[in-house]
């Protein structure tokens, strides 16, 4: 593993490049560092937002280095597993046929291949509850649409580049929609409004 990189972004954020972004995020939540307001993970990146009134960027960088030195990659199997029931079919998955053809499979074979995978929540972002799911093998990685749809229906299960995801609500979107789930990923009536977090494993299950 190469060492972490640190880059200031404006006067109130430090971007840490590290394969341990998710672990560092969890560590900072468990043991906050003074002056750090929040931290936001992405793929191999943790953006640390700090109080710009008391900026000691060198001290912050040192503290983050020290934290990183004590962290280890989270062992496989640490997170929870969510099973997401999905209705596949061209009426709710307008790109299903295209994706199947693109992978030279029948639709049934394509669905079986997708549901046979264990994906993982890499990070959340884009819109509340939206998760970037990793773990697609090369042959199931779908090119994004040339022109994004103006409105993707909520619950759409979609593939885009290296990612899979579920749109929690109607938004524009450029990923290939293959199905629909009734599962809610941002539901303020639930004790846990966002039901998944980085590190959780995810399986799609085809509804009959």
């Amino acid at each position: 593993m190469s060492g972490p990189t640190f880059m200031l972004l404006g006067d109130a954020a430090l971007v840490v490049g590290t394969s341990l972004a998710r672990e560092l995020h969890a560590d900072l939540r468990a043991r906050p560092l003074p002056g750090v307001r929040e931290s936001v993970p992405a793929l191999n990146v943790l953006t640390v937002l700090f109080d710009p009134l008391h900026p000691d960027c060198n001290a912050l960088e040192d503290a983050l280095r020290a934290r990183l030195a004590g962290l280890h990659p989270r062992a496989q199997g640490g997170g929870r597993t969510l099973v997401v029931p999905v209705t596949f079919g061209t009426d709710v998955g307008p790109d299903l046929a295209w994706c199947a053809a693109h992978t030279q499979r029948t639709e049934a074979e394509f669905i079986a291949a997708l549901c046979g995978l264990t994906l993982e929540v890499a990070f959340l972002g884009f819109t509340p509850g939206f998760a970037f799911l990793t773990g697609l093998p090369q042959e199931l990685r779908m090119p994004r649409l040339a022109a994004p749809r103006e409105r993707v229906p909520p619950g759409s299960v979609a593939l885009g580049g290296p990612w899979a995801g579920v749109y929690p609500r109607a938004t524009p979107g450029g990923w290939r929609i293959v199905g629909h789930t009734a599962m809610k990923f941002f539901d303020l009536s639930q004790p846990e409004p966002v039901p998944w977090q980085p590190g959780d494993r995810v399986r799609f299950e085809a509804l009959p």
Binding site: D11, A12, E38, G125
Partner: protein
């Protein structure tokens, strides 16, 4: 209780916002945080108490109980039962009176604070309205005619005679000089095109972001992975029209972001109005920190003086 007789163009409940970007949830909060803090201080509230943010054209509100109000921000025309209602100071309003806020010819937003702070739907520690997510505040939406808002009563207090000094107010007049820090995305060519010309604020200006009209040659990298956004980030989508990110911006973005507006100038982003001219000036990190500290000193002095008045 406050009854909304006329909602204005876009009036929302806002406070200091939330800190759950890691769940994909935008920060939210009043777009002019300086106006929010000063309005709250004037009525003896904590700096993060919830109030009403209005945009370009304000609301007409009937008060159904005595209240202490203040309005800070762009110079909106406001009247109380037809008499001029002064901005930047605390004003006692009696039950039955009507506050009518019309338009402003400068800036875009103002913040109305009620002594005690407004109530609303709290989501992840904030009652700020997230319009796109449709949660928080008043049913996750802008106010409508007929809405009724409540606040948490505090012991009645005499309003201070003080008004907020002009130096502490967020600048609302164009042309806007925004101080920025470059990021590693800032190539010499890009800096050349972004720093050499004034931009105009387009009509696409909301709580998520402000689009500028001129185009700059934007690098395009479809394979770029989304990374977290920070307040004041300037995004450059493929069409080359820069977007200044405001509090409701998405938490992650996949476009190049060559510049970041310094923290001291963030309140000013909330005051950009369509047609305003904007220029960017690169500063050093030390300059950015010094500017913020100077601004903060002024705000804290005002807040401390008003806390003293209210005996807290």
């Amino acid at each position: 209780m406050i009854e909304v007789l006329r909602p204005g163009l876009q009036t929302t409940v806002q406070d200091a916002g939330r800190r759950v970007r890691s769940l994909g949830i935008p920060a939210g909060g009043a777009a002019d945080a300086g106006a929010r803090r000063l309005a709250n201080a004037l009525v003896g509230n904590a700096p993060g108490a919830a109030g009403l943010e209005f945009t370009l054209s304000g609301p007409t509100l009937r008060l159904h109980a005595d209240a202490l109000l203040s309005v800070c921000g762009a110079p909106f025309d406001a009247t109380l039962d037809g008499q001029p209602f002064p901005l930047w100071r605390a004003v006692t309003v009696q039950a039955g009176q009507t506050l009518a806020v019309s338009g402003t010819s400068l800036g875009a937003r103002a913040f109305l604070a009620v002594r005690g702070g407004l109530n609303g739907q709290e989501v992840f520690g904030s009652i700020s309205t997230d319009l796109r997510g449709a949660f928080g505040g008043q049913e996750g939406r802008a106010l409508r005619r007929g809405d009724r808002l409540t606040w948490t009563p505090l012991p009645a207090a005499q309003p201070p005679r003080a008004f907020i000094d002009v130096d502490l107010r967020t600048t609302v007049t164009a042309p806007h000089l925004l101080h920025v820090l470059p990021t590693p995305d800032a190539t010499p060519d890009l800096l050349d095109s972004m720093l050499g010309q004034p931009f105009t604020v387009s009509t696409q200006a909301d709580r998520m972001g402000v689009r500028l009209t001129a185009t700059v040659p934007a690098p395009h990298d479809p394979a770029r992975v989304s990374v977290p956004n920070v307040p004041g980030l300037i995004q450059l989508p493929p069409d080359g029209r820069p977007i200044l990110l405001l509090p409701d911006a998405g938490t992650h973005g996949g476009y190049p972001t060559p510049l970041v507006v310094v923290s001291a100038d963030l309140p000013r982003l909330g005051q950009l109005r369509p047609g305003d001219r904007v220029t960017f000036q690169v500063v050093t990190l030390a300059w950015a920190h010094a500017a913020l500290q100077a601004q903060e000193r002024g705000l804290r002095q005002a807040e401390a003086a008003l806390r003293l008045w209210y005996g807290r």
